[in-house]
């Protein structure tokens, strides 16, 4: 996060030195974009907070650690698709799940869908890229997650 601010500060300073007018325009554009997206962002966060209550960590662990690994992968794909977690929560959580006996295969399915498939952010994506393209993109993400998880399973010797 510090790097982000250093980068933004540096870029802003460089931009100011080069062209004040353009910099002003950039800041105005940034502000307008932020205001336009604000309700959507709040909506997403509200939805996530509800979801996290319905699906707390231990419930997730229980389903993902299912004896039947195929069911585990299935749950992982679904939970990962509907949830939205920031990276700094996702990976510590995955580390925790790993220690509780959840397989690498299932974790790969979970983390990849978390990152690539966003049911919660779908309304927002649709506004920028249209329904059809967003649907294609999310389906592709889902398939990629499945393939990644199978490959991880093969390499770690967890499937077949």
């Amino acid at each position: 996060m510090l790097y982000l601010y250093l980068l933004a500060g540096g870029a802003l300073a460089a931009s100011l030195l080069k062209d004040r007018n353009k910099t002003k325009k950039a800041l105005q554009a940034a502000w307008k974009m932020f205001i336009k997206m604000l309700p959507m962002i709040l909506g997403i966060v509200a939805a996530v907070s509800l979801l996290l209550y319905v699906l707390p960590d231990n419930v997730i662990a229980e389903y993902l650690g299912a004896e039947n690994s195929l069911a585990g992968i299935g749950f992982a794909l679904i939970i990962g698709s509907v949830s939205l977690l920031p990276g700094f929560i996702t990976f510590p959580l995955s580390g925790l799940l790993l220690r509780q006996g959840v397989s690498y295969t299932v974790l790969a399915a979970f983390t990849t869908t978390l990152m690539m498939v966003g049911i919660i952010t779908f309304p927002m994506e649709r506004r920028f890229f249209g329904t059809k393209l967003s649907v294609y993109r999310n389906i592709a993400g889902f398939v990629i997650a499945l393939l990644v998880s199978l490959c991880i399973g093969l390499v770690y010797g967890e499937v077949f």
Binding site: K22, A29, I41, A46, L52, Y53, S94, F128, K132, L147
Partner: protein
């Protein structure tokens, strides 16, 4: 490519109900409601700490990176190199998906090829450097290497396929 503006009624209704739910929870001391709101504030604070810097960067990007640059590196004839550059750009992403979206849409408007925008979007989800460090720490470096090796080629392939699909649709409509 932004859709025509219509008021997102559902969103406002949802936010209104959510607010009402939280307010009522606090009045009648309903514990689940309070827990949910705790999560809400935690996430909002966390995200909003990033937003000023993230939006400034995107704003600067929009103003300084003009059509010519985008077309040269990410345009119709950028080919495989365009995909590689999109992945490199994605790796340096430091902000959430909601900020990546307007940036990707700006790239597209400035003449980037659709499949390259899609590669950028996909790669920004899976190969951010800060996130990767986290992942390797908690799940091990081999895990991360396999995930990269499998998902990046698939992202490029799927982007090309989706790009072609969308093009066909447009041609049909036209």
């Amino acid at each position: 490519m932004e859709q025509k503006k219509k008021k997102p009624v559902v969103l406002y209704v949802f936010l209104g109900l959510y607010l009402l739910f939280v307010a009522v929870s606090f009045i009648i001391n309903f514990e689940p409601g309070k827990t949910i709101f705790d999560h809400f504030t935690l996430f909002v604070v966390d995200m909003f700490k990033l937003f000023p810097a993230a939006f400034i960067l995107v704003g600067l990007f929009m103003v300084w990176v003009d059509r010519g640059v985008v077309e040269r590196y990410f345009g119709e004839y950028s080919g495989f190199r365009g995909h590689l550059l999109a992945i490199l750009l994605a790796c340096t992403t430091l902000y959430p998906f909601v900020v990546v979206l307007p940036m990707a849409s700006d790239l597209y408007k400035k003449g980037a090829k659709l499949e390259i925008v899609l590669t950028y979007l996909g790669a920004s989800a899976i190969c951010r450097i800060p996130m990767t460090i986290f992942e390797a720490t908690f799940l091990g470096i081999p895990f991360t290497i396999i995930r990269y090796a499998v998902s990046l080629p698939l992202i490029i392939v799927s982007s090309i396929v989706i790009g072609k699909l969308m093009k066909k649709k447009q041609a049909k409509m036209g």
